[in-house]
Point group: C2
Chain length 353, copies 2
């Protein structure tokens, strides 16, 4: 595959802590329900997974926010639960209920029976979406691929869907650590193959979403989440097509553990909003770039408040290379799209050299 040369490489340069003309910005879940055009395409697709499985429609929604805003990166439109689905657990969505699985993984036998998917065939629809999006981007901005972390994927697989306290997986982790490690290792192997395939099909950077690692104790985080993210970082293609492929680690509520996250060898850490980004930068120094970290709820407030918070975060980060501006978590469905514009434009305006 040959793709058009990249016109805007601000995001990739910042990930490598190289100087940029202004701070790059993108938003987690930027192709999402807050956009009326997204809701229209989703309506057209049928269900949420139909949208993920149709490369043309997945491409369409991926590009929608780029048509509206001067964003510096696109992110593959997909779901983190494609992997457990490809392992045969039967992902489905019930209206207003979030994701559910027909089969759950609770025993040593369940774990042993889990197949490791062939990512090129079983998850071929994701690869087709990646290459379609990369082609249609036509070099405008880089494309980010992603996966959930093994721990985060395991929470859904063991609980059978979303959970508040992760009781079954945590009980398994404390009571049968070896079974839990088998499960997490299978997931880590799959994530490595999955992200490497995304890279080969066109992803220019990858992010690991560890949405639920922050629900663990400090010790359990290292043993059950961080360890497998390190395994993934070690197994990833780090250079492709003559360019480095940066990897971003994002553990929500991981602000206490930055030092150990840096030690995985990743290129950048995603930060939620509970840590001051200046404090985070003082901790990690020049070892990694930082991505974040505005509270998405700020987008519910006035344009003036949004601009003030953007300015505050840029000032707290200070005049160093290696900042990618983002929200501290996904943009929420109720946000006014014009507020997202104010946010994105303010990042560029206040950071322009």
């Amino acid at each position: 595959m040959t793709f058009a040369p990249l016109k805007n490489d601000r995001f990739l340069r910042a990930l490598k802590r190289e100087p940029v003309d202004m701070t790059p910005v993108w938003m987690m879940r930027q192709a999402g329900r807050y956009l009326p055009e997204y809701r229209a395409t989703r309506e057209k697709a049928g269900g949420f997974m139909d949208l993920c499985m149709n490369a043309d429609l997945a491409c369409e929604v991926t590009l929608q926010p780029l048509e509206r805003y001067p964003l510096d990166a696109a992110i593959l439109f997909s779901d983190i639960l494609t992997i457990p689905d490809a392992m045969g657990l039967g992902l489905y969505f019930e209206t207003g209920e979030g994701p559910r699985f027909r089969k759950v993984v609770r025993t040593a036998a369940d774990v042993a029976a889990l197949p490791i998917p062939d990512v090129e065939s079983d998850l071929g629809y994701v690869m087709k979406a990646v290459s379609t999006i990369r082609r249609e981007l036509n070099g405008r901005v880089p494309l980010i691929g992603f996966s959930g972390s093994p721990w985060t994927l395991a929470t859904y697989m063991v609980e059978g869907g979303s959970s508040r306290d992760f009781r079954h997986l945590k009980a398994m982790a404390y009571e049968q650590p070896e079974v839990t490690h088998q499960l997490l290792d299978k997931l880590a192997q799959t994530v490595i193959a999955y992200l490497n395939a995304q890279i080969r099909h066109g992803a220019q950077a990858v992010q690991i979403f560890d949405t639920w690692g922050g629900a663990l104790s400090a010790e359990a985080y290292k043993e059950f989440s961080l360890r497998y993210m390190k395994q993934i970082v070690d197994g990833l293609i780090r250079d492709h097509d003559g360019r480095p492929v940066p990897v971003i680690l994002f553990t929500k509520n991981g602000g206490l553990w930055l030092e150990s996250m840096v030690s995985t060898g990743c290129d950048a850490l995603g930060l939620d909003w509970t840590i001051n980004i200046g404090d985070a930068r003082r901790q990690v120094g020049d070892r990694v770039a930082l991505q974040g970290n505005m509270d998405p709820a700020v987008l519910y407030s006035s344009p003036a408040s949004i601009r003030a918070e953007v300015k505050r975060i840029l000032e707290d980060f200070g005049d160093h290379p290696g900042h990618i501006f983002n929200l501290g978590h996904g943009i929420t469905p109720e946000v006014d799209p014009e507020h997202a514009r104010v946010f994105i434009e303010a990042v560029h305006e206040f950071s322009a050299k």
Copy 2:
């Protein structure tokens, strides 16, 4: 009022960082749904608030876990939302829905119209429960009084109930900080009066539950939550009846902010499980006691795993005075009461001098 002399002062001594024969232990929400006897009393009372408002029944459920387990403290059975209810917002509970308010607070006029309750009359039922429990405890263990933090109370008052993203209150905080400060100041004044009345009626220590302060950015936490907890600490009765009345500050997900929490002048910090208690102890040194910090989900695992985790936490804290063992959040309804026993007994067994 004269009460019986205290037989077990392990908890109060640990809060003052004095030597103890073994580490004291209690559990947040120890009088709760995991206990069949609690469910029976609640059934008898009618609704949840009927239980809170009946001093004899509130006393009955407060004492239930002490009958089962060798706990070192009792905590007043009540709800954090008694204050907003006394401000006229009309608290009610819908089955499976959590707390709701008939009126919400969204505008400057709403805030201006909020009355500051007379805690002795409007919240007289709480004071009656406190003195009843203290009398019935008969000096067995100390009684803890409590309140929600102003920020935490405000989340329910502004959102109208539980919330995932606190969109209305956060929008208010960013857009109309002065209105938000008026609301939080009214709440802080009320909490001071409320906790001081609990102390006068028999509470021997008090805890401020800042359940949702951890959902704020580091900056917003200091401005909108911590500031008002400091105002409360400054306004509390710190000695009563010839004994100090220790105050414990618990911000869930506050592990990044221990230093600023210590600076309020409180006696102890409550920790959730995301921070290693040894790391926390190295940060705070001899300035405050620490309460915590086992993940409540460990109680879903086997007795052997529970005992191992208790031992690990005791060892991480190390051989210093000033540890009160607790869970990092409330015990959950699905826990086997026998697992709670294993937990409590393990704390005493492994820490006995």
